[in-house]
């Protein structure tokens, strides 16, 4: 049995997972859901929960889990429930909540629309990158405070490079 907290930048869920007579069960708010998870390929699963069939992909390049479900993806942090509680009490923020801004592709930084210490809203444009012959607005993934800006105007950046860190 394992009790975990799963969180995105602004939501979190508590689940208990256990196995009984070879049947895996996930419990949320006191109700049990039978689970059948079968690996299809390297990072692809067929998941049946409560009889509902889902095709799930997992991206291993993300620090946490990036889950693909249908045509959408979302990033999750999975933590031991007790650890999450202790950390919260101690005031330690976890990784997904600290979410950095990462370069989605290689390119050139041609505009910086924020400063260190700025409060920014989710989806607020904070940078402009030139890539693939286009100017691309890079938006804030969350509402929060900018801790540091890791790039300067005119910098050439690689895919996955950290551009901005949140406090």
């Amino acid at each position: 049995m394992k009790k975990v907290q799963v969180s995105t930048a602004d939501k979190s869920w508590d689940f208990v997972i256990r196995e009984e007579d070879g049947q895996m069960l996930i419990t949320q708010n006191g109700s049990d859901h039978p689970v059948d998870l079968i690996r299809l390929g390297q990072s692809r699963y067929s998941l049946i929960i409560d009889g509902h069939s889902h095709e799930i992909g997992v991206d291993g390049s993300f620090d946490g889990y990036r889950i693909f479900n249908g045509s959408r993806s979302e990033k999750f942090l999975v933590e031991d429930f007790e650890l999450a509680r202790i950390k919260k009490e101690a005031g330690i923020e976890d990784t997904v909540k600290q979410l950095n801004v990462i370069a989605p592709m290689p390119g050139l930084i041609i505009q910086i629309n924020c400063s260190e210490g700025d409060e920014v809203a989710q989806n607020q444009p904070i940078l402009v990158m030139e890539a693939m012959k286009m100017e691309n607005d890079i938006k804030s993934p969350k509402t929060g405070t900018i801790k540091s800006i890791a790039v300067a105007l005119g910098d050439s950046v690689d895919k996955g490079q950290v551009l901005i860190e949140f406090a």
Binding site: K2, F15, I17, S43, F76, D80, P104, D137
Partner: protein
Amino acid sequence: MMNEINKILIANRGEIAVRVARGCHNCGITAVAVYSDPDRTAFHVRVSDEAYPLDGITSAETYLVQEKIIEIAKSCKADAIHPGYGFLAENAGFARLCAKNNIIFIGPSPEVIKLLGDKLEARVAAIKAGLPLAPASTQDIEDIPKAKIEAGNIGYPVLIKAAAGGGGKGMRIVNDEDSFEAALKMAASEAKSAFGDGRVYIEKYIARPRHIEIQIMADTHGNVVHLGERECSIQRRHQKVIEESPSAVVTQDLRKRMGDAAISIARATGYVGAGTVEFLVDEDLNFYFLEVNTRLQVEHPVTEMVTGFDLVKEQIRVARGHKLSFTQEDVVQRGHAIECRIYAEDAAAGFVPCTGKLAAYQEPAGPGVRIDSGFLAGDTIPVYYDPLIAKLVTTGRTRETAIKRMIRALNEYIVHGVDTTIPFNLLVMENESFVSGILSTHFIEDEFPELADSLSHSEEELEISAMAAAIIDYKQHSKITATANKRAETGSPWKLSGRVSGLRKVW
């Protein structure tokens, strides 16, 4: 004069190169691919009979290098070159270079490409051919006071457009005379830097227009037919994203008038091959000539699905010097077809391109589904080129059926590894205005002022994904624990990391 065509070099990549290769194979013609270094294992290389390297990475080093392509065509003895769209498709110089090397360029003559590629010259040709045009300055602007008078005569709001333009560059909407001069200068300077040609002209700005275009086919025997319209009003950054045929507002009478107009300009310019005459249609269903695209369009499949003709096959027929296989009377639209372009883009973040590996890639199929794709499972979407993954086309006896099938197909489409415009396309298919056929080129801004919010996950979806993360983590953890226990027995220092892994997982 008949031309023998047994081998065609396809001077393109991605889905259109695959489409043309299939067209060649449907005609028993050998398809030759060319490829840049990142495209060595691309679908167009694998589906073609022959494939030759262009040695380089960017478009400028590869697909745009005319001499390399001509050299390969000559050495592999290709009879013709099909340019697809983009790259060299509307390059009169390349068409001329093909002719010089006795290679058939599949498209109209260099003169026609050049004439229709210049927006001002094309406008003049359209006026001569009797097409309706939005009121506009008759030539490019040299004298600002004179231009102001012209703008006043046309009536504000007006649009300043680059003569050599495209893609919204060098374009400005001007609402009154006060802001005219500044806008004009900015547009000219932008046009100069984007196209090396600072000429601009003024056009009446049409509010909430529909973009409706007519597909034409012309042979070398003087036959010109039109294959009905495509509505391409749903655009982001002046780029079409969803197209359909027929248009929900085009009546048989309007179709005939627009079709006749398209045929007139084709006849007037000596057009040969497949082409598209683009119009803006205002709220009273007046239509205005916009431009002619002298190539196969991205959205040609919707026309193929409702008319039953194979446009690539007809292009090859015409290039061979044959007559078209059909007359205007044979063109009958049946049913409805919709195309959704599937881009590797994050629509919520303003359609920024996403690159990466297609860890899982599974296309929809079955009744009423056609898919023209440029990628296969396991492929990487390269950063260097257009991020179009595939075009998903659904058909039905009615528009309603085509929409329902599109929703079904979009829901069935599996892409893991990169974000795509599938959720955006679903949003449009389920939008009330779209379903009612109420469209304009401002559709996206009008209907989804907060697109990122509209695209966010449903609570239920998110919860399932969260459960999936928890369960996968649990399975992964059990495995790690098992390994850790095993190693602990043999005295490895894994035990500690086994404990730490509960805190933060890298996987």
